[in-house]
Amino acid sequence: MTAAPQDPIGRVVATEALPASPHQFHFWTAVEAPVGIGAIVRVDGATRTVYAVVTDGRAYSDLLTPLHEVVASEGNPAAPLPPSRRAEIRLWTAAVLRQDPPEPMQPVPLAAVHLADAADVEVALRMDAFARGDERTAIPIGLYAAGGTRAPVFVDADFLLGPESAHLGISGVSGLATKTSAVLFFLSAIFQHFPKRKGSVAAVCLNVKGPDLAFLDLPSDLPPEDAAMYAELDIRPEPFSQVRYFAPFKPDGVNLNTLRTHPDLVHAVEPLVWGLREVLDYAEVLLNRDDIDAKADAFLDFLADRVVGRPFQDEWGNHHLVESFAGLEGLFRAIFDGLEQAGGREMWRTHHVATIRKVRNRLMNVSTRCKGLVTDEASGNDLPFGAFADRTVYVVDVAGLDQLGQDLVFTRVVSKLREHLERRDLGVDNVVVFVDELNKYAPADGPETYVRKMLLDISERGRYLGLVLFGAQQFRSQVHRRVVGNAGTTVYGRMDGDELATPGYQTLSPATKSKLATLPKGELMVRHPHFTQPVFLRFPRPAALAGRQGIERYPPAADVPFADAIVRQLSVLDRRVAPQRVKDLIVGRREDDVRRALLATRRARPADVLAFFTARLGRAVVRDAPADAGPAVTPLRTVEDPYAPA
C-alpha cells in the first residue's frame, strides 16, 4: 500500500500508559507505510499543526505468549507458515519539532498523521526564519530524504560561523563516517552561500593524516546521483577554486614533506618554514606539564624581549645578535662557558642554570625534531597572515610532522589567526579552522596543555572574532566537554556502539542510536540550534578529488637528491631556470648556504630567479683547512642536567 502524499499515513494514539504530551506522541501506521526513524511527520489537529520527527518504532502482534507460536508450530520451526498472518501493529514514537501555534503549548492532538513534504520540512526545522527573504542566512548542508520527500536542509550562518553561536563538531568512526568528506562539502556550501553582506570567509585546513586534503583544487568524478543532489541543494559541483598548500620540508630541507609532490601539482605547494622568532613566541607548546613553571616562563620571556632580534652583550664581553637557532646556541654556549669560568656559578641574571638548560634543551630539541619546519634562518615562509583572501582554502599539511611539530603548527597558526582577527587585519572577516583528530588536541582528560587551553579559548570566544572551529573526531566523548559543548552545530556519522553508550548520547532513543550505529556513508545526523531534535540527512560526495583517488591519479614523486630538489624548487618559481646551471652553481657549496639562498629567493620571488639565487648564494669560499670547531666546552662539574633528552 502506498499512500498518496496528501493521505494520512497514520493516526495519533494515546493511552494512559503512552499519553501524548507537548513534546512527544505515538501514532500507528499500516505495516507498509514508508515511515522510518528520522522521518518528519505532520499532525493536523483542529486548532493546531504539529511537526515531529520519528524517534522510535515498535511492532507487535496479538500473540499473547511466544509459547503459542511454539504450540501452533508443534515445536517445529520449519513447519509451513500459517495460512493467516497475525494482526500486527506499527507503533511509532515521534518527538515534537514545532507546534503551530506555539502558544499555548499543548499535548499533541489525537489526529491524522501525514508525511512531511518539502514545505513542512522547512517549517518543522524552523528554516523559514532564515532561509527566505533578503536577510537570508541559509547554508545548505544536505538533503532530508525520507518517506518519499526530498528537501534541502539549511543551517543558519549566524549560528554556524557566528556571532550567535559557532563551531561545528563532527564525530564518527574512521572510514565509515565520512567526516572529512562532510566537512569539505560544508565548506563548499559555505563558500557558495555565505552571504556577501556578512563579510568574507576563508578556511584553514590542517591536514594531519595522509593525503586527505591534498587535492582540493582538483575535480572528482561525481556519480549522477551526487550531481543531482548538488542541483537540489543549489551548490555548484566544483572543486575549490582558490587553494593554497603549505607543507614543511623533510629533514633534508629541500624535499617537501607532503604527499602532493606529483610534478604536475607540486608547484602549488609552498614550504612552511619557521625561524627562531616564530618558534620562540610559542615555546610554551614545547613544554610539557612538568616543565611549566614560572622560572621557565620568565627565562623564555627574557629571551624573547631582551635577546632575540636585538644586540645583546653578556657579562663576559661577548656581543650577540640572536636571530636563528644557531645564534641562540651560541648564546647558550657563551652563558655556560661564562658560568663555568666564573667558578661554577649556578645563577645567571636571576635565572638558574638548570632552568636555562631546560629551556635550551626544549628549544634545540625542536630544531632537531622539526627539522624541515624549523630553519636556522631568522625567518621563514609562513601563511599569508594579513593577506588572507575571501573564499580561499589554506591547507597546512602537517601529516609528516611528529606530534610536537603538529602541536607547534596548530598552536601558532590558530594563535596568529586569532591575533589578526582581533586586530581585524587578517584579510578576511571569518576563518574556519578544520582540525581532524580533535581528541588529540583537546582531550577530555589528561594534562592541561597549551594547545588545549587555546582550543578552549577559541571555543568560548571564537564566535565573537569570526574564528570558527570545525573539529572532527572519532569519539566525541573523548573531546573536552567545553569544546564539545560550545559547538553550535554537531554532526554525527556512523558511530561506534561503545561510544553511543556514553552519557553524551543519553537523550537519543535506542532506535536513533541503532540508526547511528548503522548509518551508511553519505548520511549524517545533525543537531543545530534551530532544530529542536536531531535530523538525519544525506550529503553528496565532495566535488574535490578525494585523497585516495588523488594519490592514485597523482602519485607522489620520489625524493630527489639535494641538487635536483633545488632545481625543482627554483623551477617552480621560474620555469626558464636551466637545471644544469643550478647544479653547477651549487656544486661544492654547503647545503645550509644553498637552503638559505633558496629560502630567500622564494620569499623575494624576484623577476630573475636565477640571478637572485646566485647573488644570495655569494661567492664560493674554498676551504683549505678543516673548519674550526671553536673552543671546546668544558663539562659542568657541579650541575647535572635533569632535562637532557634520554
Binding site: 496479538d62 504450540v71 495460512p83 498472518r85
Partner: protein
C-alpha cells in the same frame, strides 16, 4: 484414565441436549485421518458476529435495554485478513406489552429501532433480562445472516467459513459454499459407540459424516474434527463440529475441507479461552468488529 481439566463454577443448563442424526458415510461412525493440513485457497471468507446489550433504565419495573450488534466477513489473500463486509445495528429492547402509551412514545422518540422482548407478564428481573438477551441474540444471528448473504452474493466462487452452525443460512443463496464451525457441543447427535468414536477421535482425524434434518426438511451434514489432542484435557478439547448444507460432493469433500481447517490451527487465537476450537481468522473477525465498535475490547 487421562488427566482431567479443572473447571470453575457449574455448567449452564443445556437447552437441547440431544438430537437425532443418521450416519451417511458408511454404516457406523469411525475416525478418519484427514491427512496433512492444507491451506484453503486464497480469497476464502470468515464470518462472525458480536453482540452487547445493557439495561439503560426502567419504567417502573419494566427494563429498557439497549443492544448493539455487528457482523462481518474478513477475506484472506496472501495470508492477510482484510475486511470485506461489516454490518452493525443499535436498537432498544423492551417488553412492549408492559408499557403504557406515554412510555412507548418516549422510547420511539429516541430514534432507534425498538424490538419487543416477549417475556413473562409478571415482572421478574432475571427472566426479563433473559428475554432481552434472546432478542439481541436473534438480531445478531439475523445480521450475521445478512453479512453472509452479502458475501456469498458478491463472490460466487468463494468458500465462506462461518462461526457456528448453518441452520440460519439454509435459505441463503450460495449457502452450499458455507462451512459452519460449531465450537459448543451442547447438543449430541450421536449415541453409543458412534458417540464414543466421535468424541475420542485423535487429533488430525474426523468422524464419519452424519446428517440431521431441520424442521423444514433441510438436511445439514456434519462431522466432528479434532484439531488438537484431547488426552490430558477433556473430551471436547480441540473438538469442532463442521457443518455443511447437504449437496452433491459434500461427503466426498469432507477430508479436503478438514485439511483446510487443520491448517487453521496456527496461528493460535491465544487471547481467547476457546483457542483450541476457535479458528484464528474467526477470532480476528470478532476482534475487528469489537475494535470498530469502540470500547468493546
Amino acid at each position: 484414565m487421562a488427566r482431567g481439566t479443572a473447571f470453575q463454577g457449574a455448567p449452564q443448563p443445556v437447552q437441547r441436549p440431544f438430537a437425532t442424526a443418521r450416519v451417511v458415510e458408511g454404516a457406523r461412525v469411525r475416525a478418519v485421518p484427514v491427512g496433512p493440513a492444507e491451506a484453503a485457497p486464497d480469497g476464502i471468507g470468515f464470518a462472525d458476529g458480536i453482540q452487547r446489550w445493557g439495561i439503560e433504565g426502567h419504567f417502573g419495573l419494566v427494563p429498557v435495554a439497549r443492544g448493539q450488534i455487528a457482523a462481518g466477513v474478513l477475506v484472506r489473500a496472501g495470508g492477510a485478513l482484510r475486511a470485506a463486509i461489516r454490518l452493525d445495528e443499535e436498537f432498544l429492547v423492551v417488553p412492549a406489552d408492559r408499557l403504557g402509551v406515554r412510555e412507548r412514545a418516549a422510547i420511539s422518540g429516541v430514534g432507534l429501532p425498538v424490538y419487543d422482548a416477549v417475556g413473562e407478564s409478571r415482572p421478574h428481573p432475571y427472566l426479563d433480562r433473559w428475554a432481552v438477551a434472546q432478542v439481541v441474540e436473534r438480531r445478531r444471528e439475523a445480521l450475521e445472516r445478512e453479512a453472509c448473504r452479502a458475501f456469498l452474493d458478491a463472490r460466487p466462487e468463494v468458500m465462506l467459513v462461518v462461526d457456528g452452525g448453518l441452520a440460519g443460512l439454509r435459505d441463503v443463496p450460495g449457502a452450499a459454499r458455507a462451512i459452519g464451525i460449531a465450537k459448543r457441543h451442547e447438543t449430541q447427535f450421536l449415541d453409543g459407540p458412534d458417540l464414543e468414536v466421535a468424541l475420542t477421535a485423535p487429533a488430525g482425524s474426523r468422524s464419519s459424516v452424519f446428517a440431521r434434518e431441520l424442521d423444514d426438511g433441510t438436511v445439514l451434514l456434519s462431522w466432528y474434527l479434532r484439531l488438537w489432542p484431547w488426552t490430558d484435557e477433556d473430551l471436547l478439547h480441540g473438538l469442532t463440529r463442521v457443518e455443511r448444507i447437504a449437496g452433491d460432493g459434500v461427503v466426498e469433500d469432507a477430508d479436503r475441507v478438514s485439511r483446510w481447517l487443520l491448517a487453521e490451527r496456527a496461528p493460535i487465537a491465544g487471547r481467547d479461552s476457546r483457542w483450541d476450537r476457535l479458528l484464528y481468522p474467526l477470532h480476528e473477525v470478532e476482534t475487528a468488529l469489537r475494535a470498530q465498535a469502540g470500547g468493546w475490547l
